[in-house]
């Protein structure tokens, strides 16, 4: 992988500005606050890509809530070589039985990871499980999973920034941009 020292040079175009993201996150936060009023909400963020979204979203929700973090191994990672199966790299730190769980995801494309995660979390007997995704890329969908809260539906392009990476780089961009093909083509 060959990324520039100035990451902005690797971005072909800005898809979502910092301001657009902030406005959408505020809108989602209000909607979630209204929908979950009086209930026991736990936000579950899926590392690492959804961290910035989680941090912003939780501050836009006006209800008392808990947060928790999970990490799931990705295909092609080191875990592939050892087991050939998806693994929970970091599990929840507190029980969720009887609680309303809102999974916070940065992006849903194939839906494979989310499908696995929902099946896993259902085994922990939560009262409900819903999904909030900042970005939805339906063109890539393989597993149809209803998304309860969606920030933006985006075109079929390789996007980075606001937590989204390529090879662990670009997560710190404050906006979502389309990566130049030269940056990921070998």
């Amino acid at each position: 992988m060959k990324h520039s020292q100035d990451l902005l040079l690797d971005v072909a175009e800005t898809l979502l500005t910092e301001e657009q993201i902030a406005a959408k996150v505020a809108e989602l936060g209000k909607q979630i606050s209204d929908d979950y009023a009086g209930r026991e909400l736990t936000l579950v963020s899926v590392l690492k890509g959804s961290l910035p979204f989680m941090a912003d979203l939780m501050r836009r929700i006006t209800l008392p809530l808990r947060i928790d973090l999970m990490e799931v191994s990705s295909y092609g990672g080191t875990a592939t070589e050892s087991s050939g199966l998806v693994r929970i790299l970091k599990d929840l730190s507190a029980p969720i039985d009887g609680r309303d769980v809102l999974i916070v995801e940065d992006i849903i494309d194939t839906g494979l990871t989310l499908n696995y995660l929902i099946r896993y979390l259902k085994g922990k007997n939560p009262r409900s499980i819903t999904v909030c995704a900042l970005l939805d890329k339906p063109a890539r969908r393989l597993v149809e999973i209803p998304l309860d809260y969606v920030g933006f539906e985006i075109p079929d392009a390789f996007v980075v920034g606001y937590g989204l990476d390529f090879g662990e780089v670009y997560r710190n961009l404050r906006f979502v941009g389309v990566l130049r093909p030269e940056a990921y083509e070998s």
């Binding site: 990705s74 295909y75 092609g76 990672g77 592939t80 050939g84 199966l85 998806v86 494309d109 194939t110 494979l112 990871t113 499908n115 696995y116 099946r119 896993y120 259902k122 085994g123 063109a139 890539r140 969908r141 393989l142 597993v143 149809e144 079929d156 390789f158 390529f166 090879g167 990921y184 083509e185 070998s186």
Partner: protein, 196 residues
């Protein structure tokens, strides 16, 4: 998730027609999505006597998700025929859900999983699995992972052996067996059609 579910492992006993299909199966295994490889062949064209002239076997069926998946990682100009078959399939079996994965989709999947370097060898002509003798004959590499295509179902037009431009030189030889399989599976497909 039950212990039984979490202990499901990758399947090593399946032969694929193309390296991209094997890689796709590994991805499904990784995420513990159950799959079947070419489980059914759908007749899509009949003659006036009701004999099947053309059939189509989608690459994968994901039973838990109730969706068929067809991978098309060959050159775009060769995809037209497959697009036509999928359209026909949807017309004849409207209740059936099928997702067509094009070369660009597969490439994006590989990039996402940090396997972009493998794209060229897993897709296109190079990804077609050939026995070693044929690979030697045509100067092409044999497919990875010891795969063979003896279990592959041909989705070419069975009335015109070897007419499919996607077949390449090594695929003609299996068209007769594929036709026999297509005929056997046609009955099953008819049952499916009646049920839906």
């Amino acid at each position: 998730m039950s212990e039984e579910e979490s202990s499901r492992g990758p399947r090593a006993d399946c032969s694929f027609a193309h390296a991209s299909e094997a890689e796709f199966a590994r991805i499904l295994d990784f995420y513990q999505v159950d799959w079947q490889y070419e489980p059914i062949t759908f007749p899509i064209l009949w003659d006036l006597d009701g004999n099947v002239l053309e059939s189509f076997a989608p690459d994968f069926y994901l039973p838990d998700l109730e969706i068929f998946v067809e991978l098309t990682t060959l050159q775009q100009r060769l995809v037209r025929k497959k697009n036509r078959k999928v359209r026909r399939l949807r017309e004849l079996y409207p209740a059936l859900r099928i997702k067509l994965f094009y070369a660009r989709d597969f490439r994006a999947l590989m990039v996402k999983y940090g396997r972009s370097a493998l794209v060229s060898e897993l897709s296109g002509t190079l990804g077609q699995v050939m026995p070693h003798s044929e690979a030697d004959e045509y100067g092409l590499p044999a497919g990875p992972g010891g795969l063979d295509r003896s279990n592959a179902t041909d989705d070419a037009d069975p009335s015109v052996p070897g007419s499919n431009p996607e077949q390449g030189p090594g695929r003609e030889r299996r068209s007769r067996a594929a036709r026999r399989r297509a005929t056997r599976k046609a009955a099953a497909a008819t049952v499916y059609a009646a049920a839906t």
